[in-house]
């Protein structure tokens, strides 16, 4: 997770909250949240190497498949759930979103925008596109359900997921007039606070 994303999440997550990070990677975000916001944090990860990195980082981690695991975290009083760049990797993203909101009061979701102009150009060229956010080849990608910002916000509106905050980031990971004005075309990534 890049530093811009980290600072957004740090802004949104209040001190001393209880946080679960689905797809926590090496646990960096949770470590920073613990150090700077005194959160009680748990990561969910299924990659043994990343789990090891979490243990080295001193982060509490649970080895579990996110698709199968989210509903197990109901009733655990989480204030916050984080799903950073993994929603599109899940088998049923809509159900996962519902489950996450059952698990925590609020969640942070980051989304690679498949509507970004660079990716559209790739498609126009007749090839599966790749970008900094979506680097893997089509035969290696873990992404099952890629969508555009417009698609995702439509889902939120259909399912009454309330978008409390959102930040659009361009390819360089910063906010810009273009990304904010025409997010579906110029944002490479969107970050949502959903409640």
């Amino acid at each position: 997770m890049d530093s811009r994303l980290q600072s957004i999440v740090l802004d949104w997550i209040p001190s001393n909250s209880k946080v679960v990070d689905f797809g926590c990677g090496d646990g960096t975000l949770l470590r920073i949240l613990t150090e700077q916001k005194s959160v009680t944090g748990y990561g969910v990860e299924n990659d043994p190497e990343k789990i090891n990195a979490c243990i080295i980082n001193g982060v509490s981690v649970i080895q579990q498949d996110i698709d199968a695991g989210i509903q197990n975290y109901k009733g655990m009083d989480f204030d916050f759930a984080v799903m950073a760049s993994s929603i599109q990797c899940l088998r049923k993203p809509r159900d996962a979103m519902k489950n996450i909101l059952n698990v925590a009061n609020e969640c942070v979701i980051t989304l690679p925008n498949f509507g970004n102009w660079e990716l559209r150009l790739g498609i126009l060229n007749g090839k599966m596109p790749s970008s900094a956010q979506l680097p893997a080849k089509w035969y290696e990608t873990k992404n099952l359900h890629l969508c555009t910002i417009a698609d995702f916000e439509e889902l939120c509106s259909d399912e009454s997921f309330v978008i409390k905050e959102k930040v659009y980031l361009n390819r360089r990971g910063s906010s810009s007039w273009l990304a904010n004005t025409f997010p579906n075309l110029f944002a490479a990534q969107a970050v949502y606070l959903i409640g």
Binding site: I51, N52, I56, G58, V59, I62, Q63, Q64, D77
Partner: protein, 366 residues
């Protein structure tokens, strides 16, 4: 690796969880490595059901190394060049610590079946006295597999301020119904041996070896996975020259016969019964309105809970249960699922994933 084997005598009486009292007792201990001057590098390893104080290294003339030799040693997962590792034979055992084979001062006879019931909490109490003996105010880690993992969990609950990390491996917060059932079959087999004499076999100069052997054979099957037995023995026929018994057909039979036989020569039947009872009764939540979450809230230590996918005796769901309760309790706890080839016994053996998790946990900042 500096190794010291020492029998420590405790003169004060010990009141057990059952209310019964041991007027004095001894613990057989073994330590590896050296305690630093601030006494902050101590690790306690707790043995499983039939283990003992001899956890690492190999003594002259011994057929095999200590039970956790793949994990404990200089440069190993629990690095004895850095940590001072304490291992001991629990009370009720039969490897030097006070147990059913010990002669009771009151009667001048071996305790035998009269040895009081002991629990995991009782073991933790005696281990605490060992910590005091060495001047260790806080363990860097308490670790164990199976029944040893239960002791690590109990430590974190009983003495929150005296333990920084607990590695709870192939264990559970209480054992399964199936596990109690298997333990009862084992006990029944032992008790039905004609030489058992209601547990008073020692005074008669006898031993229920046949029963003990059969119980261990059953137990041994439960410690291995189906796939491990298949890979290791398949349906290979036993070579006739090395048959332990004329009736044996397959290698696996011979193996179980051999293992059972060896075990029955070195283990005590009353200890077997007592240890299985301690395992059955382990349920730390019972003192907290049967609420494991409430119980775990006491914990200040960091937990690492590890389960093995091929373990059907302590299925991984039981490890995950502790983890989920730990999250509800809001305590620092991680859960990992490991590939283990050996079923329940996987916790005894080195594997890259297992060792690096345990090592990183031990070396991470408390």
């Amino acid at each position: 690796m500096k190794t010291v084997t020492e029998k420590i005598s405790f003169g004060d009486s010990l009141t057990l969880e059952s209310g019964q009292v041991l007027s004095s007792f001894e613990l057989m201990t073994e330590t590896y490595g050296e305690l630093n001057s601030k006494k902050t590098n101590a690790v306690l390893v707790c043995h499983a059901f039939s283990g003992n104080h001899h956890a690492a290294g190999r003594r002259d003339g011994e057929p095999k190394s200590g039970w956790w030799d793949e994990i404990i040693g200089d440069g190993k997962t629990i690095d004895t060049s850095k940590f001072f590792v304490v291992s001991l034979n629990n009370i009720g055992g039969c490897n030097g610590s006070t147990g059913p084979t010990t002669v009771a001062s009151e009667s001048g006879q071996p305790y035998g079946a009269n040895f009081p019931e002991v629990t995991v909490s009782d073991w933790v109490e005696t281990q605490k006295l060992v910590a005091d003996h060495f001047g260790i105010s806080c363990w860097e880690m308490v670790a164990g597999g199976s029944l040893g993992g239960m002791q690590a969990l109990q430590w974190a609950i009983s003495y929150p301020e005296r333990i920084k990390k607990a590695a709870i491996i192939a264990a559970s917060a209480k054992i399964s119904t199936q596990n109690i059932a298997l333990n009862e079959v084992a006990r029944e087999i032992i008790k039905k041996d004609e030489h058992f004499h209601n547990g008073d076999y020692l005074v008669k100069g006898e031993s229920p070896n046949k029963g003990l052997k059969a119980a261990r054979m059953l137990g041994h099957i439960t410690y291995l996975s189906e796939s491990n037995m298949r890979k290791r023995f398949g349906r290979k026929l036993q070579d006739p020259e090395n048959k332990i018994d004329a009736d044996v057909n397959y290698e696996v039979e011979n193996y179980l016969q051999y293992k059972g036989e060896q075990f029955s020569k070195t283990f005590d039947a009353n200890s077997y019964i007592l240890m299985t009872k301690a395992m059955d009764s382990f349920d730390p939540a019972k003192d907290f309105d049967n609420d494991l979450v409430k119980c775990l809230k006491r914990i200040q230590a960091k937990l690492l809970i590890a389960s093995f996918d091929s373990d059907w005796l302590f299925p991984k769901e039981y490890g995950l249960d502790i983890q989920m309760s730990a999250i509800k309790a809001g305590i620092d706890s991680s859960y990992i699922e490991l590939d283990g080839d050996y079923g329940h016994d996987s916790f005894l053996f080195y594997s890259d994933q297992y060792a690096s998790a345990l090592k990183n946990f031990l070396n991470s900042n408390g």
